[in-house]
Symmetry: C2
Subunit: 415 residues, 2 copies
């Protein structure tokens, strides 16, 4: 059972937007045992769309198309799909009603003819009702192949995928069981890790594949197993994990299925009944955001401070001017004072602080671009570590976040 | 002059990572007049790679391949490219030296044979030196077509693209001039906007294309012009913009080439010689991060507070308990108090505050999920606005950021 995803839109090809839809679709199809053979991003152009549809029909059982169903003139997808199926467009009453409802209850702006014309769909298409937008999804079949077309607006596509497309695919096809397990490791390079687990890797059964995914100081090991017997797949996966875990014990931090490091930290803080606050300089709010992006953060995260300008470290966070003068604003001493004072201010059990220079210029600091200090304060203790994180601003910030999470994770899991 | 981008990696197809490389490559190629015909994401599989290379060779003049050049066993790209060119792998001395240097100066872990073997490249390939990673880029030619292969690690690919690939493409091909201008609009729907500018759109010259890119309350209008005479392209683009601007005056906020809204805001604050701080509840640090992600934020951004837990709004930000009790923590009154107190604490000219319920549950607040208040405080004034932003946590946060930027932009551009 294979699918191909086609995303339509010049904005993808010129790099104006990043295609996140395909990743969402790939993930959710995988979860129900449908493999994605290929993702193809193409132009808003009739000839190109027709060519891609023909090729996808040869490659895959299911063709999923997103993009190009909006009301405006740059959208030719619907007409081209109709042409591909030798079909004509007809007005669908249920879609018309849905559009009228949306305009009455939400849009509250005058309706245009182009909006109403979104109810025109190929006569052979089954409507997949889009309850949050005016462009409907469509399901078409041809020579045992299924074609699904959805608007490119991410949240509309996601709802259609979950509530319309998946149930229909599940009902139509018998699918294998697919299981992914991703092991997060920190602090060891890809090739070192590979040589450690080489023997284990060579002896993996045929139906389990291993991939290395390195990223900013962490390497994820992804195991993918596939088979029609769910029990065998699960048992063998578990067995292989039990073999590999002792080999990577010192660098293993958790499974990605459990969530990213910030989620593991959140769970541990809830287990320990402890709270956290953060004081950020160079990470500029991103550390707080990393925690608060996850639902449930309010059970352990009290809040944070972004003391970006040097004087705010003094005025708001109460770091002493003398410490800054003596050690510089990018220093272990300032990071530790920030963590300590933040913890006191927020009355939290722990505080994490960052101070550094993300670049591109030296700014208030005299430290080299890429130098970052991360401090952790607890009731008993405050300590810090210095990092040298390169010269690219965004990468310095992201690596500092990863380092802060890694350091804090070690602290709260140490017992 | 057309290019095709091929990204290799199962992690893309199963949705484990989002392919951001293609967007980067598309954008940078476009900037030098090379159009991207198609982006194709494929499996780590010999047959699939060979098929994609054959098709890309038919579609495009330049084929750019990323991914699959790491040291570990899941990487078969290099061998497959060699096979496609009927070639054999040979050890390259300059790459060997580069790897030895990286290990000596940066990695500082024992070198493995797999690392040294990254210096094996097809004999027909020209090396594109990767100074920050062990996998080299490669440049191969076949029947007047160019094939470029780069590692998938984003920052390695980016450096190779900028310093090795672009100069070689520029030297080899005569390219048309491509110009994009993107107009940001806020507060009007795609179809309303389309009907307003319909006549103008219908009269655009053949070589200027228009696209509508709607996203969370903003619609971007992208004009793309292409031609060999740079002067004509620029003049006509300017002329068309001068015609459309008066039609969208009330909803136009700036050009994307000038940067996103936060960048425009930053520039205006620097012009006005004013500073900003932020107090965040439901946006959890993301508003601060939105500003600090941009270099130069330190010239206007003083910092911010994340007062996530209710008691921190009282303890850290000094919002009165009585106000919270009377109006609830998600209210105009609390948002305004947060903004006012934040401004005072950070001694900034302006402050923006957010309080709301991003969901999925009601948390500390009794407000409906999706209700968000945004307040702006200046020396003269403090005001707020209520928004109802749906029920999806991440979308509520992102929309609140957009609304806050929009509101603040209106405030600082009003004179």
């Amino acid at each position: 059972m294979q699918a191909e995803i086609i995303t339509i839109g010049d904005e993808i090809l010129i790099g104006q937007i990043v295609d996140t839809n395909s990743a969402f679709i790939g993930k959710i199809l995988n979860s129900i045992g449908v493999s994605v053979y290929q993702i193809t991003s193409i132009q808003d152009d009739e000839a190109h769309i027709l060519k891609a549809l023909t090729e996808a029909e040869n490659n895959a059982d299911i063709v999923i198309i997103t993009g190009g169903l909006g009301p405006t003139k740059d959208d030719i997808t619907k007409h081209t799909i109709s042409k591909y199926f030798n079909d004509t467009l007809v007005r669908d009453l249920s879609v018309t009603k849905n559009i009228e409802r949306l305009w009455r209850d939400y849009v509250k702006q005058p309706m245009q003819q182009v909006n109403l014309d979104q109810a025109l769909i190929p006569s052979k298409a089954e409507v997949l009702m889009n309850t949050v937008g005016s462009a409907p999804g469509m399901w078409l079949e041809k020579n045992e192949k299924v074609f699904i077309s959805m608007p490119g607006v991410p949240h509309e596509m996601k709802l259609l995928m979950e509530y319309e497309v998946l149930p229909k695919i599940k009902a139509k096809y018998k699918r294998p069981f697919i299981l992914h397990k991703t092991l997060l490791t920190y602090g060891i390079g890809e090739s070192m890790l590979a040589s450690r687990i080489e023997e284990w890797e060579d002896n993996l059964p045929e139906f389990i594949k291993l991939a290395y995914l390195p990223n900013l100081g962490k390497v994820r090991l992804r195991l993918s197993a596939k088979g029609f017997d769910e029990k065998i797949v699960k048992t063998e996966m578990e067995k292989q994990i039990q073999i590999v875990l002792p080999l990577i014990k010192d660098v293993f931090v958790g499974f990605e299925n459990d969530g990213d490091l910030e989620v593991l930290i959140g769970k541990q803080l809830v287990n320990l009944n402890k709270t956290l606050s953060v004081a950020e300089s160079c990470t500029g709010g991103k550390l707080a955001e990393t925690f608060t992006a996850n639902a449930g953060a309010s059970s352990y995260f009290k809040g944070g401070l972004v003391t970006y300008a040097t004087e705010t470290k003094i005025d708001v966070l109460g770091v002493s001017q003398a410490i800054i003068k003596e050690h510089s604003v990018v220093s272990a001493e300032v990071a530790e004072a920030m963590a300590k004072n933040c913890r006191a201010l927020y009355k939290s059990d722990y505080a994490i602080a960052t101070t550094g220079n993300a670049g591109p210029t030296k700014g208030d600091a005299d430290a080299e671009v890429g130098t970052v200090y991360i401090a952790i304060a607890s009731k008993e203790n405050v300590f810090s570590q210095e990092f040298s994180l390169g010269t690219n601003r965004i990468r310095v910030i992201n690596k500092a976040i990863n380092k802060a999470l890694e350091l804090f994770q070690k602290e709260i899991f140490k017992n």
